[in-house]
């Protein structure tokens, strides 16, 4: 963690945004989906959920490596100066037992209206173990943050 400003910017994005774009691997083809997410305070883990009949779930079963984009664009020209985006890379896995409970609680604290969804046996809760973050701000400023394994 050698760039405190970048870390703060990522933390800010994670705190303010509720939705992210998740990319999974569909037989060698990137497959993007919009998901509701929550992140741990240390930014090392990102939680999302999906039902088990979706394409992204099928993709994750075959390849757990994912990428996730979180951004704060407002769909105006000002975005080129003001918007920030972070691309998260890592590996997704389904926690079990008490682990799942813990991450489900974190997730529901951000998205209380998804309680019924999370409680369903057909819902899979995934945690991305974050390996690397790429932060883009002011159009072309790029910082890369790697987390030790």
């Amino acid at each position: 963690m050698n760039n405190p400003a970048a870390i703060r910017a990522i933390a800010d994005l994670f705190a303010r945004q509720t939705l992210a774009v998740l990319a999974t691997d569909m037989g060698g083809h990137p497959y993007a989906s919009l998901v509701a997410f929550a992140a741990t305070a240390d930014l090392r883990r990102v939680v999302f959920a999906t039902i088990r009949t979706t394409r992204k779930f099928a993709n994750l079963e075959l390849n757990s490596r994912v990428s996730l984009l979180v951004d704060n664009r407002s769909n105006t020209p000002a975005d080129f100066q003001e918007a920030a985006a972070v691309t998260v890379m890592g590996q997704a896995a389904e926690p079990e037992g008490a682990e799942r409970e813990r991450f489900a609680a974190l997730y529901l604290s951000r998205h209380p209206y998804l309680e019924e969804f999370i409680a369903s046996p057909t819902c899979a809760l995934f945690v991305i173990e974050v390996e690397r973050c790429v932060l883009v701000s002011r159009f072309q400023n790029v910082a890369e943050i790697t987390f030790p394994p």
Binding site: I51, R52, T53, T54, P112, Y113, E115, E116, F117, A119, S120, P121, T122, C123
Partner: protein, 722 residues
């Protein structure tokens, strides 16, 4: 803004702050009317509660699953119950709770009424009272706070949702005020209309013994006086059969029999009728328009409980919403209705079905056959009317039970009460069990299968006996599947298909059910246990009757089908003047409750353009579980004949006469929405995943599509290549 205000406070003149009821009461009190001691909980309290708990977003989620325009009224009830459960399970944040408890402290140790007071209610509420909830005889600060949440929840009641446009209901904007009023346990109570809805020259005074709750919800019939508006002269007095009155009992109100001296006397003397009339005239003078006022007399003092304008909207025959509101019945009212249905209506319907079925139509002359068809059509029309009048309102017993269950147990899921309604010995389940028994014989004896394959019913005596017993009770199902004499016997194919897979037992064992019931009843204090048992029995009866009445109606349909089929055979071979002009339909059209579908291939077949296909559809979870299989779209009753074991049943609407294929199904998807539709009821008996309320399900899914039905979340996924 303050959370709680008194009539002395400025806010009570602001309708947005305290709602219509609170505002009117403050105006009355200021003008010197005798009004019970009242505190108004402002809309600010509602807003703070929603903001602090995030409930607003959850309400939006519950209402946003589907476009209102696509929702059936039954689905409004489901959505309202979900929202009500959210309020029940979301406690007041502690600071808000403490503030409110402090303000309401004057009511500690007192019985109160907790009444809804919505800012927007007057326009419609005056015409259709009871869109929102009010509770009478509530005791203790904690209980009052609980009931305030229930009144808040009723801003989103099924009835309010029905009038959402008139009320201007908007999640995030609408709010509810609450009036907390000392309960005046009047000896006589009633309602007075400053102008009669039927005759503008009259006012109407209605009165009952005891509390007026019984009058308002229709449980107790009132004495009624028509008074000339001009002169104040009493013109007529209607005397009802006075039997009972509502009276505070414990933390509820109870219907108690009237002692003879009260049953024999009108609740008001003529002089008192004049006093009540004077009250409504004074109210009209104060507000400038005729009023509809609730009043009570206690210890010789006349109290005004509430006042609202009478709106002169005449009945609009195209607006069916008042009819829906009339389905909302009280416990006592439903008890009487149940006895009528079980003891009179259904036995009479069964007797007529049996009598008609005993006539061998083949032996009738053409003229007699024509008469038989006319008679049977008339019989069906009459029984359908009775069904609509009595059986449909009976379903409210299920709702009432569900509401009490949720109030008492506060379950995580609002429909947990359905678990107590399975195993009610529905006729459809009995029918399916008899079919499984026949299939069992076929499974055991391969030679029976061979005979059935060739379209002949086996000569095995046991099989023959069971088959005869089945057809005597349920017919041969040919009238449902539109089978004619030229087709293979419909039962043969069905029994073979049932025999091709292992038997499907009902999902819940008797032992499990007994445990669930015991757990439910244990939540009642001993003195209330009897009420719990009665309520459960009413709920289970309503649930069972909802299915069974259709089965009996089906037997009337079957006799009509038999007569029509006979006529069809006769006129296909020769001309018969007697059978002319009877409008004999083609085969398969008796089972009219399946809507014929118009296949919509536009999504699939835009030539040269992009191809659009459905991948995932969201409906309402109505039967737990997840399962998949090839889709079988039932567009016409005949399609039921092709149903194969392991397929997913996709239909517009099924009635209980068609649910014999359900034990074959891997899952069920129905266009009609609601937890109480027949497809869902029978699915839960077998533990089959079921999703309801998917608009265009039959058009958007095709027979053969591989579908997965998530009955936990109400999601249907259609497999697509790639």
């Amino acid at each position: 803004m303050k959370l709680v205000v008194t009539f002395a406070d400025e806010e009570t003149r602001d309708r947005d702050a305290v709602g219509g009821k609170g505002c009117a009461l403050a105006t009355l009190a200021a003008a010197g009317f005798t009004v019970p001691r009242t505190l108004c909980v402002t809309t600010e309290a509602y807003r703070r509660y929603l903001a602090a708990t995030g409930l607003g977003e959850r309400i939006a989620m519950a209402l946003g699953r589907k476009d209102f325009a696509d929702m059936r009224w039954e689905e409004f009830w489901d959505a309202a119950l979900r929202i009500r459960n959210l309020f029940l399970n979301t406690p007041l944040p502690s600071n808000l709770r403490e503030e409110l408890a402090g303000e309401l402290a004057p009511f500690a140790g007192m019985s109160v009424a907790v009444r809804s007071s919505a800012p927007a209610e007057d326009a419609v509420e005056a015409s259709f009272a009871g869109l929102f909830e009010s509770f009478v005889n509530v005791q203790g600060i904690e209980t009052i706070l609980d009931h305030i949440r229930l009144v808040w929840a009723s801003l989103w009641s099924d009835r309010a949702l029905l009038y959402r446009q008139e009320l201007g209901l908007r999640v995030g904007e609408s709010a509810m005020g609450v009036v907390v009023q000392e309960l005046v346990a009047g000896e006589r109570s009633g309602v007075v209309f400053g102008v009669s809805p039927d005759n503008p020259s009259l006012a109407v005074v209605e009165a009952v013994w005891g509390l007026n709750q019984g009058l308002v919800d229709g449980t107790v019939e009132p004495d009624r006086w028509a008074v000339a508006r001009e002169s104040g002269a009493i013109l007529t007095h209607f005397t009802p059969q006075r039997e009972a009155c509502l009276s505070p009992a414990g933390g509820r109100v109870a219907l108690i029999p009237l002692p003879t001296e009260r049953a024999d006397a009108p609740p008001l003397a003529e002089r008192e009728v004049e006093t009540v009339f004077a009250l409504v005239r004074a109210g009209e003078e104060l507000f400038g328009i005729p009023q509809d006022m609730e009043w009570t007399i206690h210890g010789g003092t006349l109290y005004t409980l509430q006042s609202r304008p009478v709106t002169s909207t005449g009945p609009d025959s195209d607006d069916l919403r008042p009819w829906y509101l009339s389905l909302h019945r009280s416990f006592d009212n439903l008890g009487a209705l149940r006895r009528h249905i079980e003891e009179e209506l259904l036995p009479a319907m069964e007797a007529e079905a049996a009598q008609l079925a005993a006539v061998d139509t083949a032996k009738l002359s053409d003229g007699e056959l024509a008469d038989a068809i006319r008679d049977r059509r008339e019989a069906r029309r009459c029984w359908e009317d009775a069904y609509r009048r009595d059986c449909i309102p009976m379903a409210h017993g299920i709702r009432l039970f569900g509401q009490v269950y949720n109030d008492l147990l506060r379950p995580d899921t609002p429909f947990a009460f359905m678990d107590l309604l399975v195993g009610t010995e529905m006729s459809a389940v009995e029918r399916n069990r008899m079919l499984e028994d026949l299939a069992d014989l076929v499974r055991q004896q391969p030679e029976l299968r061979e005979q059935l394959r060739h379209g002949i019913f086996p000569d095995d005596p046991e099989f023959g006996e069971q088959l005869a017993a089945f057809t005597a009770r349920f017919g041969d199902l040919g009238w449902i599947t539109g089978t004619t004499a030229d087709d293979a016997p419909p039962l043969a194919g069905l029994i073979m298909e049932l025999a091709s897979r292992p038997p499907r037992p009902v999902a819940v064992s008797a032992g499990e059910l007994t445990e669930r019931i015991a757990a439910f009843l244990s939540r009642f204090p001993p003195e209330e246990r009897r009420f719990g048992e009665n309520l459960l029995e009413l709920g289970r009866a309503a649930y069972r009757l909802r299915d069974n009445d259709n089965i009996i109606l089906g037997r009337i349909d079957a006799t009509l089908h038999a007569a029509i089929e006979e006529a069809r055979q006769r006129i296909s071979g020769r001309w018969s003047p007697d059978l002319e002009g009877l409008d004999i339909p083609g085969p398969g059209r008796i089972a009219k409750r399946v809507q014929p579908i118009r296949p919509n291939d536009a999504e699939h077949a835009a030539v040269g353009g992009p191809r659009v296909r459905v991948r995932q559809l969201v409906g309402q979870p109505a039967g737990r579980g997840i399962a998949g299989g090839p889709a079988r779209v039932i567009g016409h009753p005949e399609d039921l004949r092709s149903f194969r074991a392991g397929e997913v049943l996709i239909c517009d609407a099924v009635d209980p006469n068609m649910t014999f294929v359900v034990p074959l199904a891997a899952a069920i998807i129905e266009r009609r929405g609601g937890m109480l539709i027949h497809g869902a009821i029978i699915a839960r008996e077998y533990g089959i995943p079921c999703v309801t309320g998917i608009p265009g399900a039959v058009e958007r899914i095709r027979t053969g599509d591989a579908v997965t039905v998530d009955g936990y979340l109400g999601i249907v996924t259609v497999a697509t290549e790639g």
